[in-house]
């Protein structure tokens, strides 16, 4: 049973959203974005999982012996890899923006970075 995976995934997503809404420190907001991404990645991997499934690879001997067992869905894994790469890019970009903001605004507190308002 992989119900625990789904629960953990939803908890991570909710935690990430909470961090983004509640934490004023920019670095923490970026961490929140990361946590949300991890939750979604976990969910996608869990979707492709089958109990007792094997790796989605057939060797030549498997095919000759007719040993074609049930394997896990490979597409969600490919999606997760892509999503991880994208998540890393988002984090890198967000952190570089935080560095620039720190230089120009002399703070990383979201409450003080609000020249654009109204």
């Amino acid at each position: 049973m992989i119900l625990i995976n789904y629960i953990v995934a939803i908890c991570l997503i909710a935690l990430g959203l909470y961090v983004m809404c509640a934490k004023r420190e920019l670095i923490k907001i970026v961490i929140g974005m990361g946590i949300m991404d991890y939750g979604i990645n976990m969910l996608i991997v869990s979707i492709g999982f089958h109990e007792n499934g094997t790796a989605p690879i057939y060797t030549l001997s498997d095919i000759i012996n007719g040993n074609l067992s049930f394997f896990v869905d490979p597409i969600p894994q490919a999606l997760t890899l892509t999503s991880i790469v994208i998540g890393a890019c988002v984090d890198a970009m967000a952190l570089s923006l935080v560095i620039m903001l720190k230089r120009r605004y002399k703070t990383t507190d979201a409450d003080e970075i609000r020249r654009l308002n109204g």
Partner: protein
């Protein structure tokens, strides 16, 4: 080789991405090389997209292309497919036109900035991603394109951080909120894969149609819709748009309003009309129409309170997107005609307005309304173009904005009549009122920027070079042409897109093989072309009465209560004849009373809205989370 054009979509998308890297490799030193690469890539992609008009619009074909030749096997689509139907091509054309105009404008507009190699790299990636987004037939590919689009947009927003540190702030907010939107979309894609085990849009549409809506599918629909709503900057999610449009270079703002938020609208139409086919549900129509009406009202009222030219235009952009969403959300054929036509017109006139804002910035170095004035004599051509755009967005005949808004009013009115739901009456009135307020706001801008007395600092302002005028002229010409020949535009450009939306069977069949749609319960629907009669005199009269009443009521009651006039600091006897509520606004346009009336009447409202738009990232994130939760819950509860 009769159908060589099936390769055009993928070549145009890949060409733009390839050029992005070529610019980075070869164009960092030599400005001619990098501009040549960018221009050729944009021209090539635009030419190929425009060529597709012949097969898709005129002959009614749906073009499909499988990456690497991985065609469906045994009724399951494995490969990544590109599929271009009328709807995709319609938005593809808007995209191509926008980036073409913007790249023409960029050559002179961006010449004073450094690191232009990076600018063109990001520019081409943004163009390629949006084109890929509208052409793709694969949900996950759609997500990837959304992410590339967000990256490129964020980086371009922050491009002028050297001169304007606020750009960094706008970019950061855009990235945080945008990432919530794309993460939600990905969540939806994952849930959709859980129930259908495919990522191909045509097959998903067929499978959902045959299996019916399960709870997981509903949840997937809710999260995807919410994610796309974040991407199209519908009201609780509009805050990053205002910040990003205002701080990005004007050529980029043109891209944002012309393609980036259109991409979100395209996604919503594709999702609701074709992928899940949920537009027959009355509750969803209500949700989308109310969201649209809210968006147009909040957008236009926030625009009234702005002091920055581009931030004001940004709020108008949000407001016009509200019109599109409302019309599309009505779920009627007339609504679709109006919504898609308005989306097209919005690309034209809002692109034009952002270009003129860029021209003003280029010539004066500021976009602050309080520091501008009297540019009409010094920049006559820019002023003329701006007036065309301002008339079009305010919905004054014979410009294009009028034709599409008129259809939208009719559609909302018709919907109120058919359904007997009072909310649609309110929505119709809101649409009319917002149009009047748009006019009021543009009277203010015209007065503040182009007429009145020029401040001493702007005495030596000159007209912008021809390279910047050309795209503005083209856009103005298109605005007027689409307004004068609205009927032809609807028949030849909008009609194929509407037909594609109302006939999903063809979309599915082209991708999955003949008969696949019918086997899964998507029957061939008759093409329903209702001729659009926008000059119905009864409607004319009704509109006229309502607008006049609204204007008189709001403006006159506010103007009467106007407080004592406070003169600018340097008391000048000339200024005494001008109205002086807002300091150093050297405008003497009498019609400005309209604007002041609104501002006075809605004083409490403006205060609340100003406090709500606090500028804090956390607050905006909270808005997004609440909005997203509400949309998801609504779809889950009312659509099952």
């Amino acid at each position: 080789m009769s159908n060589f054009y099936v390769h055009f979509p993928v070549i145009s998308v890949m060409g733009l991405f390839l050029a992005a890297f070529l610019v980075e490799i070869f164009g960092n030193k030599n400005k001619h090389v990098r501009y040549a690469i960018s221009l050729i890539a944009c021209l090539g992609a635009a030419a190929m997209t425009f060529y597709l008009i012949v097969p898709v619009f005129f002959r009614g074909e749906v073009i499909s292309y499988w990456m690497g030749g991985w065609k469906p096997e045994g009724g399951y689509a494995f490969g990544i497919g590109y599929e271009i139907d009328g709807l995709g091509l319609f938005f593809g054309l808007l995209t191509a036109l926008t980036f073409l105009m913007s790249v023409l404008f960029s050559r002179r507009y961006m010449e004073r900035d450094g690191h232009l190699g990076h600018y063109y790299t990001l520019f081409l990636m943004l163009a390629g991603s949006v084109l890929g987004l509208v052409f793709t037939g694969d949900v996950f590919n759609l997500f990837i394109m959304i992410e590339i689009m967000t990256f490129a947009s964020v980086a371009l927003t922050a491009f002028r951080h050297g001169k304007h540190p606020e750009a960094l702030e706008g970019a950061f907010k855009y990235l945080v909120l945008g990432s919530i939107g794309s993460s939600l979309f990905l969540l939806g894609v994952a849930l959709l894969y859980l129930t259908t085990h495919t990522l191909n849009m045509a097959q998903i549409a067929a499978l959902i149609s045959s299996k019916g809506m399960q709870p997981t599918t509903l949840l997937a629909f809710g999260t995807m819709l919410a994610g796309l709503a974040v991407k199209s900057f519908v009201v609780p999610f509009h805050t990053p748009a205002a910040d990003a449009y205002a701080t990005a270079p004007a050529s980029v703002s043109t891209l944002f309003s012309g393609m980036v938020n259109k991409a979100g609208i395209y996604g919503i139409i594709r999702l609701t009309y074709i992928l899940f086919r949920t537009m027959d549900k009355e509750s969803l129509m209500l949700l989308l129409s109310i969201l649209g009406a809210l968006t147009m009202f909040v957008g236009v009222t926030m625009a009234l309170a702005q002091h920055d030219f581009k931030r004001l235009l940004a709020f108008h952009s949000i407001s016009q997107i509200g019109y599109v969403l409302m019309a599309v959300g009505l779920g009627t054929n007339l609504g679709l005609y109006g919504g898609l036509f308005h989306a097209m017109n919005h690309t034209l006139f809002k692109g034009l307005l952002f270009l003129t804002a860029g021209a003003v910035y280029y010539a004066t170095g500021t976009t602050n309304l309080d520091k501008l004035g009297g540019l009409a004599k010094r920049m006559p051509r820019t002023t003329a173009c701006f007036l065309v755009g301002a008339f079009a967005i305010s919905g004054i005949p014979p410009f294009n904005g009028f034709a599409s808004k008129w259809i939208i009013y009719q559609a909302a009115y018709e919907k109120a009549n058919l359904s007997g739901n009072f909310i649609y009456v309110i929505i119709t009135v809101t649409a009319l009122l917002v149009s009047v307020m748009t006019l009021a706001s543009f009277i203010k801008v015209t007065g503040a920027v182009f007429f009145g007395q020029a401040p001493a600092t702007l005495e030596k302002t000159k007209e912008v070079p021809f390279g910047m005028q050309l795209p503005m002229f083209i856009m103005s010409a298109l605005c007027i042409a689409c307004g004068l020949f609205y009927n032809q535009t609807i028949v030849y450009v909008v009609n194929p897109a509407v037909n594609a939306v109302t006939n999903p069977a063809k979309y599915v069949d082209t991708m999955m093989g003949e008969g696949y749609a019918f086997a899964n319960g998507i029957g061939p629907q008759p093409t329903t072309f209702t001729s659009v009669s926008i000059w119905d005199p009864v409607f004319w009269l009704l509109l006229f009465v309502i607008v006049t009443c609204a204007v008189t009521l709001v403006a006159v009651s506010g103007a009467r209560e106007r407080g004592p006039v406070s003169l600018p600091e340097k008391t000048d006897s000339k200024h005494a004849t001008f109205f002086g509520c807002e300091e150093s606004l050297h405008s003497h346009v009498g019609g400005s009373d309209l604007f002041w009336g609104f501002k006075k009447d809605l004083k409490g409202y403006f205060k609340v809205m100003g406090n709500l738009h606090s500028g804090k990232t956390n607050d905006y994130a909270l808005w997004v989370v609440i909005g997203v939760t509400l949309i998801t819950l609504f779809t889950f509860v009312f659509l099952s």
